[in-house]
């Protein structure tokens, strides 16, 4: 269940790109698409880094949630 939340979160960030374009929401993903259109690569790099950071953080939190939810799982210290 928690695993699914982690995978879904990454998937939803990808889905944001289309959603924000369709509904004209001025969000990060729409900014990314516009930056690509303007060929403004420094902004593209930063936004990609931000998205990667969010995805990695969510995955990390999911891994930590395993430890809380299932006492059998312990990570080596």
């Amino acid at each position: 269940m928690v695993t699914i939340i982690g995978i879904e979160a990454a998937f939803l960030v990808g889905g944001l790109i289309v959603t924000e374009t369709v509904f004209n929401i001025p969000g990060v993903a729409r900014f990314l698409v516009e930056a690509i259109r303007w060929r403004d690569y420094p902004i593209v790099q930063n936004l990609v880094m931000l998205i990667a950071f969010v995805v990695v953080t969510v995955n990390f939190l999911v891994d930590m949630a395993y430890m809380v939810l299932d006492p059998r799982i312990k990570y080596a210290d």
Binding site: F11, I17, V18
Partner: protein, 297 residues
């Protein structure tokens, strides 16, 4: 890797089965959803291959008089603002979707298999390096990665295929690596080595075929998502360039202006995309049930 012996299972079930035709019917009865998926996928492939015989009009020829024509009459599914026949464009769009979907899945599959096989078989430093590289690639969602790749490569059919293939590599590599790791320790690999086979030959001839079942399942799932990502990229204007009819771009160029006055311009490409992805997903689920019994729910 136990692939179920279907014929034996069918005999056990008491089915009187001779010949491939009744076997096909039996399998279709047993997995009705998978059969529906297979029919959708086959229709899609058939449409794509024989597009020039099915389409009544040239997908790029314009007709000013027919601009925004309603569905029915000469134009079965209406015409867009330039008077291009929607039905022909959807039929030719299937060709583009199939080319990108299959191309990206195969290319990603070949790259992923070679990386995964080498990584699992050689182990050590190479494995570590490759797996960290895959980790980095997996830290970006599929669509974001494809979007950035497409932006870096520039819009064209080949570049779109490459841009979608690269993000598909890590999941294939993971699947192949994990099966290779367990297969490497199997007695038959040891036997092959004792007979004096080369390592490369063992890896390709004996380990690789045993990883095929999960690979086929993953491949069908990836075909659907590749088609979806192609549609999204074209929707955003970074996918297939103008002369080719692409379902995603057909949506985006009509969605903004004509959704109220000519909704058929938006509905039919959208239905085409969702039916195709739905069909590949159903087929993929059925294939997983048939080929990978451990994951059966």
């Amino acid at each position: 890797m136990a692939i179920i012996d279907h014929e034996a299972e069918l005999h056990r079930a008491g089915a009187n089965i001779t010949g491939w035709r009744s076997q096909l019917v039996f399998t279709a009865r047993r997995y009705p959803l998978g059969a529906i998926g297979a029919v959708i996928v086959l229709t899609f492939v058939f449409t794509a291959v024989f597009a020039n015989f099915i389409a009544p009009f040239d997908p790029t020829s314009t007709d000013a008089k027919a601009s925004l024509a309603r569905p029915g009459g000469t134009f079965w599914l209406g015409a867009d603002f330039m008077g291009r026949d929607m039905f022909s464009r959807i039929v030719y769009g299937a060709r583009i979707s199939l080319a990108v979907g299959l191309g990206a899945t195969l290319m990603g599959g070949i790259l992923g298999v070679s990386i995964g096989l080498m990584s699992g078989y050689l182990g050590g430093g190479f494995d570590l390096l490759m797996q960290r590289l895959m980790d980095i690639m997996q830290s970006l969602p599929l669509l974001v990665m494809a979007l950035v790749m497409a932006a870096a490569l520039g819009p064209s059919l080949e570049n779109t295929i490459i841009a979608i293939a690269i993000p598909l590599v890590p999941s294939v590599a993971r699947v192949v690596r994990s099966s290779t790791l367990s297969l490497r320790e199997q007695p038959f690999v040891e036997a092959a080595r004792a007979v004096g086979m080369g390592e490369l030959r063992i890896a390709v001839r004996h380990v690789l075929p045993n990883t095929l079942a999960p690979l086929i399942v993953l491949g069908t799932a990836q075909l659907g998502s590749a088609i979806l990502v192609e549609a999204s990229l074209s929707f955003l204007g970074l996918g297939i360039p103008e002369p080719y009819p692409s379902w995603g771009r057909m949506l985006s160029e009509s969605a903004a202006e004509y959704v109220r006055t000519a909704p058929w311009l938006v509905i039919f490409p959208g239905v085409a995309i969702s039916m195709t992805v739905f069909g590949t997903n159903l087929l993929g689920d059925a294939l997983r049930d048939i080929l990978d019994p451990r994951q059966r729910s």
